[in-house]
């Protein structure tokens, strides 16, 4: 379990990093915390010619509130969020998610940008941030583009990143005072990847909700028009109105044939709804 040989660069600024990525023509991999890429290198599942270590890029470590939204640089770690070192606009929602990502050792090194880039369907941020309505900014030498998290993740371990492009920042909108947050996941044991995730942001006052069913084999199911899940409208009694059958049908449509798997996903989602309503 030793990696195949690779070249290693640790650029000092983002432009240098982007130039290296552009020059590599797709044969480079970016490493930040290395919590996913490290094992994949050791297992020789990836064999890049060049590793670009971006951990020295100060401009990706910023966390600031700007224009009512939180902008988190890609290198902000899970532990930065868990410990409250990073600013927050979600009234603790992100802190709660961060605190239960894998183990503390992983959280110390793992980064929010790395987690998104890796696009593991079972990871926490892609589901949680999709529910929170977050967007991702991608940068290359050609410039930047921004897209919702649910658009950024296009499949299992597949993101919208183009060759030469890097996740620069995550933009998280402020959670309104009336919005309820619920997050639940089921893991075989503490610290393992989840096999079911439910993430809900429900605002009965605004009659709106964002519902995510994650940790399925492909991109999370993100429901932005969620009224159907609650009997046609989102009201203060949404917990009682939550319709398991609708969620089950969504999972069937997503290609999950195994009834027990669907049942677990639906039950975890129900738990997230109960957490939101509590």
């Amino acid at each position: 379990m030793k990696p195949a040989p690779f070249a290693y660069e640790r650029p000092r600024d983002l432009t240098a990093a982007l130039s290296m990525l552009a020059a590599s023509n797709g044969s480079a991999k970016i490493i930040a915390g290395g919590q996913s890429l490290g094992p994949m290198l050791n297992l020789r599942l990836v064999q890049p010619e060049l590793i670009v270590d971006i951990s020295g890029l100060a401009e990706l470590k910023r966390a600031e509130i700007s224009g009512g939204e939180l902008v988190l640089g890609a290198l902000v770690t899970h532990a930065d969020i868990e410990d409250g070192r990073a600013a927050d606009v979600t009234r603790g929602a992100m802190r709660g998610v961060a605190a239960n990502i894998a183990y503390r050792a992983v959280r110390n090194r793992g980064t929010i940008g790395g987690s998104l880039s890796h696009a593991d369907p079972a990871a926490d941020w892609i589901s949680a941030l999709a529910a929170l309505g977050a967007r991702v900014t991608l940068r290359s030498l050609a410039g930047t583009r921004t897209m919702p998290v649910e658009t950024f993740v296009v499949g299992a371990l597949e993101s919208a990143l183009h060759t030469g492009e890097i996740v620069e920042a995550v933009h998280v909108p402020a959670r309104s005072a009336s919005a309820h947050w619920g997050y639940a996941k089921s893991c075989r044991k503490t610290g393992e990847f989840a096999h079911a995730i439910g993430a809900v942001l429900i605002d009965p006052a605004a009659a709106s909700a964002r519902i995510v069913i994650g940790a399925i084999d492909t991109t999370p199911i993100v429901i932005t028009d969620a009224a159907e899940l609650f009997g046609g409208r989102i009201t203060a009694d949404y917990k009682q109105r939550f319709d398991l059958r609708v969620a089950d049908a969504l999972l069937s449509r997503a290609g999950i044939d195994d009834a027990a798997q669907r049942h677990i996903h639906v039950s975890v989602l129900r738990r997230a709804v109960q957490v939101a309503a509590a």
């Binding site: 030793k2 040989p5 020789r44 044991k189 079911a196 677990i264 738990r271």
Partner: protein, 791 residues
């Protein structure tokens, strides 16, 4: 609950029964242990193996790039090296030959095909990645039940089938057939990987001056490894020294001869410098050795009051591709027949067993060996009997367990139980878990929608079984007398040499306690030397929970003889008749005074002129052998009780409380025993809820990293409550019994029974380990469907 008994001996608090912290922990807990991976030798180079990517294939060619010829070795290079052969003398046993590097065919994923040598492991892996194999894939034998059917693909063609061994055992099963309760089920336990913290590892070097190969290997049984190596390499045993340094957990995984050990031994002699291979976690998971995969088709007969009338069972064990040295491919399955009835009385019994060859890693005896599966099968069935008879599960056990007044007891398979009070252990466990309070609480239901369940299980653990038991197996190893050497040093310290090994058992402490009990020497001045064939007496090593009984008995015997010699010298120094002095607390005492062992040692070594003329010329160095009065084994046992909460919709199982009432005879060190039980419990929880190595239809192992092969961690193992009973064995020194494996035997049964207890009102019955969330939910949904279609 904690054992706070008086120490029977040794006011110093260091003898048998003392709850002494482990001496070796000062080194091990500070990260100062010295494992194979820490061995540094000048000129050392690393080995990586090219392993088979397929489960079953014919080798058409092995292509080594021109630039790496000379660094890559295949079976064609290993001239004169014999395959590993682990035969059994049981009638009908079919022999497998395991080539150390594959020849002709590969029979499991991960089988060694070529050996690559480089200055570092990373470079060796680069070379291994450059070697290409031309393989003709053959149908894989991946399902042990299908493998028994005619027409199956064959692992070893010349056998004509895939059965290493079939055994049959019967005592009048017809007497049970009219029982009013007759329940039949299929029960299975998943294939597992043993997963010690430290994997296997080998550093081999050759000393031309001594004409000796030295193999550093993480091994439980260094003397047996030496015999196996000598056979494969065609060398004299005296030309081989096996050193097993600190070992980070064995559990059976480190009890076998590895093809890697043979390969590296050959390689160091071929290339003239030391070579090293350290197993990585992926090699451990996919290529090393497996355990536990059992299948039972079992029928239990009982009367309406829960009295057992008989058991009829067909057990199949997936033995993998090769018979492993020295335990063989049939130990596990054939043992099922003799141990299934356990501590229960019954008048009728039949058991048929199959050891089946498949295209998987060899199966090895893992902590508990076949007992974990047997306990799972029988204890799950007894809960069904209880449900059928309308009795508490504990009540069914109490009705059928052997009673203390029946000891010693020969059960229906002629296992000889030395001592114990099994019903008392069960009663204590039921009281400790508070069964009555749980039943009351179950009626109210949990507020969070989870369901409570309680389960019990009980087992016996035969340990330190010796010549009379193992001679019948006809495998390459039969334990005889266990020897220990004891030597007083010139400054009054004590050196003990034993051929067993310690890989977590704390024997550097417990054997010192035994010696202290006899000689009164401070345990701090007692050194235990083990894990080196050049420095220790021959032993079959550490397996079968035998070390405390056997090596402990040998140490006591050697120390008694040493003490006697010292006493006689002491008598002369005191100018007393030998009959009038005694050895006590490290001194020889007479009416007029005393002389310390230290002074006696000083006299023997440094002032022999003061010794009497008729002194025993053997001096203060003794090697003695030991066997218990009966060598049919000690029987320790424990009752386990588990309280769980099960979420029927998400399938999560939480262990809320866990109680173990254990009887291991007289405990040399209760603290060490507690540690053994906690560790075993963790592994038992792994079997119950987490660990599983699945295979696909092409024989590919699917859990290739620890993200897929789940081991319980600190948050998955509850703080179990322990209670000790101490029924001495009548046959051993101090009345000790072996207890090393028990913790891992009973938890899968207790936890599965608890989960089934929780879900029984829903019509759910889980008969397969591990109990995963998916299995729980699938069973709940199936029960709901069945209920709907019945309605």
């Amino acid at each position: 609950m904690r054992n706070e008994r008086e120490f029977p001996h040794g006011k110093s608090g260091q003898g048998v029964g003392a709850r002494l912290p482990r001496k070796e922990d000062d080194r091990l807990m500070r990260g100062r242990g010295q494992y194979v991976g820490d061995v540094r030798l000048a000129g050392l180079q690393d080995v990586a193996f090219v392993r088979s990517p397929l489960a079953h294939a014919r080798i058409r060619g092995i292509h080594v790039p021109e630039r790496h010829r000379g660094s890559v070795f295949t079976a064609a290079d290993l001239e004169g090296i014999k395959p590993i052969r682990a035969v059994s003398g049981l009638p009908g046993f079919k022999i497998s030959e395991q080539p150390v590097l594959a020849t002709g065919k590969v029979r499991q994923v991960g089988e060694l095909v070529a050996m690559c040598l480089a200055p570092t492991r990373a470079e060796a892996e680069d070379i291994a990645a450059s070697v290409t194999l031309d393989l003709e894939e053959l149908p894989a034998v991946y399902d042990m039940l299908k493998a028994r059917e005619p027409g199956s693909a064959l692992v070893h063609e010349h056998w004509g089938d895939n059965v290493f061994l079939e055994t049959n055992y019967e005592v009048d099963i017809s007497a049970a057939l009219d029982a009013p309760i007759k329940l039949t089920r299929e029960i299975s336990t998943a294939r597992q990987c043993m997963s010690p913290l430290e994997g296997r590892g080998v550093v081999a070097t050759f000393d031309r001056r001594l004409d000796q190969l030295t193999l550093h290997s993480a091994a439980q049984m260094p003397h047996i490894t030496r015999s196996g190596l000598a056979e494969c390499l065609g060398m004299e045993e005296g030309q081989i020294r096996v050193i097993s340094p600190d070992v980070g957990g064995g559990f059976g995984h480190k009890g076998i001869l590895l093809p890697e050990e043979v390969c590296l031994s050959w390689l160091t002699m071929r290339c003239g410098h030391p070579v090293r291979w350290i197993e990585d976690r992926r090699e451990h998971l996919v290529a090393s050795s497996n355990c536990r995969e059992h299948h039972y088709r079992i029928t239990v007969y009982a009367d309406r009051d829960g009295t057992l009338r008989g058991i009829d069972c067909e057990a199949t064990v997936d033995s993998g591709a090769y018979s492993s040295y020295p335990f063989s491919a049939c130990l596990e399955a054939a043992q099922v027949a003799s141990i299934l009835p356990g501590p229960y009385k019954m008048p009728a019994y039949r058991c048929r067993t199959f050891s089946v060859a498949t295209n998987k890693c060899p199966i090895l005896p893992y902590r508990g060996v076949a007992r974990t599966g047997v306990c799972f099968a029988l204890e799950l069935m007894l809960d069904l009997v209880a449900a059928e008879a309308g009795l508490e599960p504990g009540e069914v056990r109490l009705r059928n367990l052997v009673r203390p007044e029946q000891m010693p007891f020969d059960n229906i398979t002629r296992k000889h139980f030395d001592s114990g009070d099994y019903p008392e252990a069960m009663r204590r466990a039921l009281v400790a878990i508070d069964i009555d309070a749980i039943r009351a609480k179950q009626k109210q239901g949990e507020a969070d929608g989870r369901r409570l369940g309680v389960g019990v299980s009980i087992y016996c653990e035969q340990a330190a079984h010796g010549t009379s038991v193992y001679s019948g197996w006809g495998i390459p190893m039969v334990p005889g007398h266990e020897q220990a050497s004891a030597r007083l040093t010139p400054d009054g310290g004590l050196e003990l040499r034993v051929g067993v090994h310690s890989h977590g058992q704390g024997m550097e402490t417990t054997l010192a306690q035994v010696a202290h009990e006899i000689l009164g020497i401070d345990v701090a001045k007692i050194r235990i030397i083990l894990g080196d064939t050049a420095m220790t007496p021959y032993s079959t090593g550490t397996w079968g929970s035998r070390s405390m009984v056997m090596a402990g008995g040998a140490v006591a015997t050697a120390c008694r003889e040493l003490g006697e010699r010292a006493r006689r010298i002491g008598a002369k120094l005191l100018q007393h008749e030998a009959a009038s002095v005694v050895l006590q607390n490290g001194e020889v005492r007479g009416v007029n005074g005393s002389v310390t062992l230290k002074a006696i040692a000083h006299t023997w070594y440094r002032r022999p002129q003061d010794l009497p003329a008729d002194v025993d010329p053997g001096g203060l160095e003794v090697t003695q052998g030991y066997k218990p009065v009966r060598d049919s084994g000690t029987f320790s046992y424990a009752a386990h009780a588990a309280l769980v909460a099960v979420d029927p919709d998400i399938g999560e199982v939480e262990i809320l409380d866990y109680v173990i009432v254990e009887d291991g005879g007289v405990l040399v060190n209760p603290l060490v025993v507690d540690g053994q039980i906690y560790g075993g419990l963790a592994q038992g929880i792994g079997t119950a809820l987490y660990e599983e190595m699945p295979f696909d239809a092409s024989g590919q192992p699917l859990a290739t990293t620890l993200a897929d092969y789940l081991l319980p961690g600190p948050t998955e193992v509850p703080a179990a409550r322990l209670d000790h009973m101490e029924t001495p064995s009548p046959y051993t020194q101090f009345g000790v019994k072996g207890i090393g494996e028990g913790g891992a035997i009973a938890p899968p049964a207790a936890i599965a029974n608890a989960v089934n207890d929780a879900l029984r009102p829903l019509g759910v019955e889980l008969m397969q380990s591990p109990i995963t969330p998916h299995r729980v939910v699938a069973a709940v949904l199936a029960a709901r469907r069945a209920e709907r279609s019945a309605a």
